[in-house]
């Protein structure tokens, strides 16, 4: 019997094992992909294929572009210009054009969600005022390490976040949540991480401003560090937020109000000449000023979300849904929903400087 098993094993290997083999050297390892839509409705697929032969070219490779009626077809058509089949398991960045983001996102992302090789842990960007192909070309020419670039922006500026494709899709699928995505543009032939795009289900609606992007990331605990400036000239206070934790709860008295509590630790990094930091009282007063400023900014931001954007990007509806609040049954719940922001700022470091001048 053993000999039959051996024969069977050999047959299995002969008939199949070697035909599906893909050597490492035969893989076109893709680092970044851009997706545009042409005027005739075809998908333009642009990819940076990493040059694995050179250690010096870690962050660059060759850019290939192809067309097709679907993302899959366009990707497959790349075989016409590149002999290797694309391997997207190591994909780091996916850039989609505004047109795709506005009208064809669902169909385009389906390819990546279904793909069994990747883990969907790459970052999604909307190409702001440029085509995805242009952005991909600049990324390659400038040898930009997009992951480090995005991480630095998220860490030090707070106007971008590290949501992967999985997070974005979860945002779309979850009840009472709308998604956002980072955007990219080109300035002086350099890549720039731009304002965040916001969506209504699968359709992009517009962009948040820089300030709003920071507030959004702060409110959703996507960022810990950012800089906030209050006043100007001699009354200027610049604070660097070093930690920020936001908590949500439904107001127990009025069920159509959500309490947002922010606990912020900040360092004072710059002050105008009218700002004194000499005693506990002055520090307390500055803390209060920052608290009021952040409260006002959040309230204004929420007012804009309610009246202008009309999209629940703060996932307040999700909280109502999770807590089985009846207000969520109303499709226009956002119009009736209010927020009550309570910010607590603690200045833990004034730079170790007593202002005597």
């Amino acid at each position: 019997m053993k000999k039959y098993i051996v024969i069977l094993l050999i047959l299995v290997i002969i008939f199949n094992g070697l035909t599906g083999i893909r050597e490492l050297t035969d893989l076109a390892i893709v680092k970044a992909i851009g997706i545009d839509m042409s005027d005739d409705g075809e998908i333009i697929f642009t990819a940076i294929v990493t040059d694995t032969s050179s250690k010096e070219k870690v962050n660059s490779g060759d850019v290939y572009s192809s067309k097709g009626s679907s993302v899959q077809e366009a990707a497959r058509n790349m075989v016409d210009i590149s002999p290797k089949k694309l391997y997207i398991a190591h994909l780091e960045t996916l850039v989609i054009s505004e047109e795709i983001a506005k009208e064809h996102l669902e169909n385009s992302l389906d390819f990546f969600i279904r793909d069994n090789e990747g883990s969907n842990t790459f970052y999604l960007f909307v190409a702001n005022e440029h085509s995805a192909e242009e952005i991909i070309n600049v990324i390659n020419e400038e040898k930009v390490d997009m992951v480090s670039f995005l991480e630095s922006t998220q860490k030090y500026k707070g106007d971008a976040n590290l949501q992967t494709l999985n997070d974005v899709v979860k945002g779309i699928l979850e009840d009472g949540t709308q998604m956002t995505a980072n955007s990219m543009s080109i300035e002086d032939k350099k890549i720039l991480i731009d304002d965040m795009a916001y969506f209504d289900n699968w359709n992009m609606k517009g962009y948040l401003t820089k300030q709003e992007s920071i507030l959004y990331n702060m409110l959703l605990n996507h960022t810990q560090f950012f800089i906030t400036s209050i006043g100007e000239g001699d009354d200027l206070i610049v604070a660097e937020v070093t930690s920020c934790k936001t908590k949500y709860s439904i107001n127990k008295e009025t069920k159509n109000c959500i309490d947002i509590k922010l606990n912020i630790n900040a360092n004072i990094t710059q002050t105008g000449k009218n700002i004194k930091l000499n005693d506990a009282e002055s520090i307390e007063s500055i803390q209060k000023t920052i608290e009021e400023d952040i409260n006002e900014k959040i309230n204004n931001f929420y007012k804009k979300i309610k009246e202008e954007y009309k999209v629940d990007i703060l996932s307040l509806g999700n909280l109502l849904y999770r807590k089985k609040n009846k207000l969520f049954d109303n499709p226009n719940y956002l119009e009736e929903l209010d927020i009550n922001v309570q910010t607590k700022v603690k200045i833990s470091n004034q730079g170790g400087v007593k202002k005597v001048w």
Partner: protein
Amino acid sequence: MVKKESKQICSVGVAFVFLSSFLAMFFGMGTYFMFSISGNDSYIAAIIGSVLSILLFLVFKYIYFNNTEENIYELTKSLYGKKIGYIINSFLFLAFVIISSIVLFNLTNFLNVEYLPDTNANFIKAIILVTIIYISSKSLSEIVRVNQIFSYINIILIFIDICGLFSKVNFKYLEPINCFGKSCMFKSIGLYLVLSIVPYMMLLITSKNNIIESEKEKTSSVINRTVILTNVIQIVIILMTILILGKDFISVFRFPEYIALKQFTLFNILERVENVLALNFYFNSISFLSFLFYYMISFLPDLKIKKWYSIILSIVIVIITSLLFHEGISFASIASKYLIYVILIGILLPILLIFVKLRISNKKQKIS
């Protein structure tokens, strides 16, 4: 394949029989069905279902410890006579054939979708079945030992999984509680209960006569502990999948447990190792199929072609899977509809008949 004489088995080996069977029965099937019925409430259904299933397990345990025959088929014949016994055993046999087909297709589908999308599914089935044929050609003690090794690896891998996935857990995914309604919850509990019958049935693959004499006393407590451990592991798997993916994302995928594994990261160093960690899914299914094959071969008469039984059975199962199931999503809808009836009629009904008769005859013996 000729079965050799059954050697003695240790108590842990017996207990681990249903650990791998349980996990194989739920991976891509039980959990998938439960998630589609009760979404993020599935963990509650699993907790309640596990308590009820442990109660149901007492029936199997009673039969196990009161079986003086070599296996369950012999016991049925001794209780009901040759003719009725044969009919009852046929029910069991047919149920095992169908369950084997379902488990084989499920494993093939998993490997086909996640690992080998360009490979013909029949080749994957062949590779799996070659392993099964080889394992089932051995004696019961060797099959149990193979399973024991797999089980230890499983437990280690599951522990690593939990460590590496804990940072990705989001407790907000547990809310809202009971959003699918009571009827869905009951359905899900029922599903858990019914699916747990098959792994518990694997316990009866052995009889207490096979256990090493010195370990007979502690067998009962080892089995009890393993049943609890198995249910706890299954609840943790369901809970972790919900906490990582959330109810909306779970419903997107055919194998949500594997997708949750893709999020694995240990100290930000060890990443993208889901294919290694998912080995336990493979091991469980292989062990489970080996037991099912052993069961099926035990039923068949002792003819000259006995050595070919495992190969014939493999061919039959491949034909059944090819006829019944074509791809993963349709498989899931067919399996979720009919698997419950197969288990209830093919396994639970015979087991209850055996249990009732055994109890009556035991009482009579006591009285006399």
